[in-house]
Symmetry: D3
Subunit: 132 residues, 6 copies
């Protein structure tokens, strides 16, 4: 099994709803390092998992659309706790939609899995893995 | 599949028994970075894998009890080689016991897996994964 | 010349005022890794630069007071652009005040310099250095 | 499931053939951080996954043979695109051959899997996993 | 004293001339992480050291012009050993020329120093510091 | 001003004497990442700060002699608190002696400064700088 990962980042504000979040219920923010991992069992004819430049561009597009926002005001997330693990899934699902729409090229149809890992600090991170 | 990881560290002395260990048979020591990863297939009602503060507190409790010790003198490890991979399992098993005892809250009953990764240096680390 | 550094982090929301900031004029947020470095020409009688536990506790106190806040609402920063470089200075100055107040113990009077470095992402950071 | 990882690195020149590679079709180069991960379900009698010194030595041997080379001139790779993902597999396969030849000692017969991860920069890496 | 650093990277081929370089006399290559640090004693009216976006863009321009090249073929470096420390200076000097040409905006005239650090691997890096 | 840094590591046991050290008064241990930085105002005829291989070998020699030891039993450190900052100086001074003895080659006579940074964990490190 092969994989390729590209890293990007985003900076957002948000608040979290629920006693479990303690002081994070207040409006605060985070820098998330975003590691998007693309998996497949075999390489394509170019000996690659995916066109890394296209992959990075698509990650950038998704991450850029979320960047420098207060996620509490994003209608896509209305009434939703934008936790690190939820955002990992949100980014992975948007990326999967772009892959299925052909944005990573025809070779990307060989991709079988996708993970998104979000580092919220040097001591905490979350990961979401899904099939394609 | 979702996961959340929290990082802590501990500093211990120990020696290792067996020809394979070469100079590490002498009393020496290590700083271990401890990455504890909690896994589950779905998020709970708060959109989280686990209460990250509780998780960090439990990891701290287990790691703190081992910290600043000579593991050669720890009765729990009498006659045992406290290798990096063994310690990863020891910490994971103690953490699993705490989870089963309810220390991470009722939401933590949804956890299905647990990994502990121990970095002993910038060029060597070990990992242990278990079900919950 | 000796130095000792301790790392902590904080997560905040804020917006920045001025054309130069582009999309960062919107309310967004950041995780800042905070590296506080204490300097002195000679070690004290314990062979240390500073009591590292006290140093970490004071950094935690200052960083904790800023954590999980919208800095736009902090009266201390009213009308001020809370850029990464400004926050590095703000944290350094608060830490210097604590040192001068004796919070790091009598040995800390030997400290001659202090730096605070704030990482806002894996590709950008700022640093402020001052005398004590 | 246990694993142990050792890190090494290599510096090579190469060019890549195919439109997908854009400017990387020109002769250029890379530093690859090489993380070799050895897996097995149980520890051996010494409480280890593998003799870490032997493992590091074998990785060094394989990596050293590739180091400071123009891979375009390596007959083993004639007509082959030496992408990061391909090189991860090439190193893993050479390491697997050494394990099967007994180079990691008799205890290494308990190994069931092997991964090689190659970081080509702070923002891109590839991984190959195989059974043993 | 304040500073701000932005990170980028480049991937090049080259060879080095001189007995001291051993196997690095052969054509090989490197990924260099490039950390460009801008210094000044006081912040400008926006509370910044430099327009970080402009700074990153200029670093990208300089680094991009060197990327995916065989430096042995670059007429600017004819007969020159493109060591890590030399390249740090080359990038710093090009950046200084851009600053003096006004590419970082009028606020950048307050800059007094510039450093470029190049990481060639996880275990080796070089740094060049100059006045502006 | 130029510098070059090489990284190595060591793993030791020790205890620290003095109330300030709290639980670190007990026998424990540490992995220290060792970053040795060599400085000079100009490059030599090979365009280098120092022969990096020789530098790495000398660092390895000094670090290797301390590795896998209980520093409490080292006669060189009898009655001395082997704190991180003290060890940074001890390693720097041993390295300076090797430089003065010619171990880094004749070109190394151009070196004017030397720093040793010791990371004891991901959240704490010390640095010692001296002239040559």
């Amino acid at each position: 099994m092969f994989s390729v990962t590209v890293r990007d980042h985003l900076m957002i504000a948000h608040s979290l709803d629920g006693e479990v979040f303690g002081p994070a219920r207040r409006l605060h923010g985070a820098t998330y390092l975003v590691d998007a991992t693309f998996r497949r069992p075999d390489l394509d004819d170019d000996n690659i998992v995916v066109d890394m430049d296209l992959a990075a561009r698509e990650v950038r597009g998704i991450v850029g659309a979320l960047s420098y926002q207060n996620l509490d005001d994003d209608p896509d997330f209305a009434g939703i706790n934008t936790t690190t693990e939820f955002l990992a899934k949100a980014i992975a699902d948007r990326l999967a939609a772009r892959i299925h729409a052909g944005a990573l090229g025809p070779g990307a149809h060989g991709l079988t899995g996708l993970s998104v890992q979000l580092h919220e600090s040097h001591i905490a991170w979350a990961d979401y893995h899904r099939a394609l």
